[in-house]
Amino acid sequence: MIKLFSKKKETKTEKNFYSKTLVISERHLGDYIFQNITRLFAFFVFGLIVLIFLEMFIESLPSINKFGLSFITSSHWDPVKDKYGALPFIFGTLYSSLLALIIALPLSIGVAVFLTEVAPDWLEQPISLLVELLAAIPSIVYGLFGIFVLAPFLRIVVEPFLKTHFGFLPFFKGDMFGFGMLAAALILSIMIIPIITSISRDVMKAIPDSLREGAYALGATKWETIKIVLISARSGILGATLLGFGRAIGETMAVTMVIGNKPEISFSLFDAGHTMASVLANEFTEAASDLYISSLIEIGLLLFVITIVINSIARVVVNRVTKKYGKIN
């Protein structure tokens, strides 16, 4: 304490210029406290992530110890016999998100191309705004829409059509409830389109016009120019896609309201399924045995780890593009 006070006396007498002022103010008591306060808060965030991981890990230990690797490979989820295998949920999560991606990606790129290359300036702003509005809609509202509008529509119109014309494919077999994997994939795709679109749009915008002008000068058509831009932007688009995928994996409410909540593995789009997030929403408040709760938390842990991995890779990819072309999003 005494040491610090003596330093303070020094700085008061040494009020001086640019570099010296900076060096001295760093030792100023106020600066010191403030710097550490901000550091404290920032480390709080760090601590939070560690806390999340640790808490979930500790609570999952009973389940990890009992089931080990078979938790991920077994599809037997039986609360009566207290035996738990999470494979149906892992499958459901990955399958629904992948389907959502397949539907969303072409559309998102199409919209991004529209916004950056096709639309006139006065149209671009409002359409961008509308796409972002899609992202602002809370997932519970998507779920409500899914239950009362989409599912009946699928059950009465779409699924019979698919069954009649494409019923030979393994994707369109089984009973048609309206609820199920198809409904979940469609809702998810609508939800992730804004993310993929806005980042792709930003990446494409950042690509210098000189590239486009060069292409036109060489006689390229609009489409050929667009192709060139897309190829240049491909890593950014990849990053956007990964982020969209990460979002789809973690989505809870909209999925649980339309997916049918059945822990089953099936490739048919008509069948009901379950995802890691939706089983947590459904069963968390009710798991009566300690092992049950532990298994559910282990699913939460898996979900956490998977989303972190995917989002980290996505961020790294997007950051690399940022370095190349300047700040994006």
């Binding site: 009566v80 909540n261 059945k262 009566a288």
Partner: protein, 349 residues
């Protein structure tokens, strides 16, 4: 340097502790609030009871219908003041409460209800008949089509469509499921071996809905669906429900009479802790899938205000509350059971 960082850290942690230490349950607003959670089965009548009681006394009983599994779980965790379940707690669960909280659990039956098989078949309308073996095979996934021979043979006058049966069951931990699977286990050996009884089982077929509401919703919204729900939910939503063949061989419709008849049969063998199943009861008027529903109350309640409120409410419910049962399609408790319940309520300290 270190000292300053430590000091600010201490202040930060200290304030967090003080902040979370404000978790005293002393209620400053004067209005007593009691939290409970559990079964969706009796939700229709509980919400009525709590509303009427609130208007009478001003005490707020906040009941969240998250399913019997949820009720049991929260009672074990001690996060609610009382629970509700149509599946009596298992010995192991009661032991958990004893170990974790040092208290016993009292099972207080409140009403009885019927689990009916609600179905949505536009071409058939009312009056579908089902036998125990047909019912179990539908839920086992062995009978797949509505116009299956076996269904047709008991419903000769009905126009059954050549469509797949969509089975709806609960996706959450449910006392209603417990009652239903308890019945199925009694009438079908295959069900007993393959699936068993429980609040949440590994269903061989069908779609999952959350809560009685979820299953009722599925049946209501989708043609060709059959699902099991508490009678009140079927009636509230104008759903047709099947007439079942009971143990004595008679086809019985679900009503408070047939449920009361089912309870009569088991009065003689009522266990001391009032945890009993009345499915597949004897008697020609008995509805085969009937059940009690219980409030799960701690034997020792530390907060005197809350204890008095809960005791008074229970006594009110067992006398005045029962009057609402019939109009809401539940069966009131037999008088003998009410007396036993009141004796149990006296045990709450």
């Amino acid at each position: 340097m270190k000292r300053i960082t430590l000091f600010s850290l201490f202040i930060f942690v200290g304030s967090m502790m003080i902040f979370s230490g404000c978790s005293n349950k002393t209620n400053k607003s004067g209005k007593l609030k009691i939290n409970g959670a559990g079964a969706t089965f009796p939700y229709v009548i509980y919400s009525k009871w709590f509303d009427v009681y609130h208007q009478k006394t001003g005490i707020e009983f906040n009941y969240q219908s998250i399913g019997s599994g949820g009720g049991v779980r929260q009672v074990i965790a001690g996060t609610v003041d009382f629970g509700a379940s149509d599946a009596p707690m298992k010995d192991s669960e009661i032991k958990q409460v004893k170990d974790k909280l040092g208290k016993d659990i009292l099972h207080i039956p409140t009403v009885m209800g019927a689990v009916v098989l609600a179905y949505n078949l536009k071409s058939v309308g009312k009056g579908l008949k089902l036998t125990p073996s047909v019912l179990s095979d539908i839920f086992l996934g062995k009978i797949k089509k509505w116009n299956d021979k076996r269904i047709k043979s008991i419903n000769k006058d009905k126009n059954l469509p050549n469509e797949n049966i969509i089975v709806a069951h609960r996706s959450d931990g449910s006392g209603t499921t417990n009652i239903f699977t308890d019945y199925l286990s009694k009438v079908s050996k295959e069900w007993k071996e393959k699936v068993g009884t429980g609040k949440a089982v590994s269903w061989p077929a069908g779609l999952g809905g959350k809560g009685n509401e979820g299953v009722a919703g599925l049946v209501k919204q989708t043609d060709r669906t059959i699902g099991y729900v508490e009678l009140a939910y079927a009636v509230q939503n104008n759903l047709n429900y099947a007439i079942l063949q009971n143990k004595a061989g008679y086809f019985v419709d679900a009503s408070f009479n047939s449920v009361s008849a089912a309870a009569e049969g088991s009065l003689a063998t009522l266990p001391e802790d009032l945890r009993v199943s009345i499915t597949n009861a004897d008697g020609k008027d008995s509805y085969p899938i009937s059940g009690f529903t219980w409030l799960l109350v701690y034997s020792k309640i530390d907060n005197k205000q809350k204890k008095d409120a809960i005791v008074n409410f229970l006594n009110w419910a067992l006398t005045d509350g029962e009057k609402y049962a019939e109009s809401l399609y539940y069966a009131p408790l037999p008088k003998k059971v009410v007396e036993l319940c009141k004796a149990k309520v006296k045990l709450i300290k």
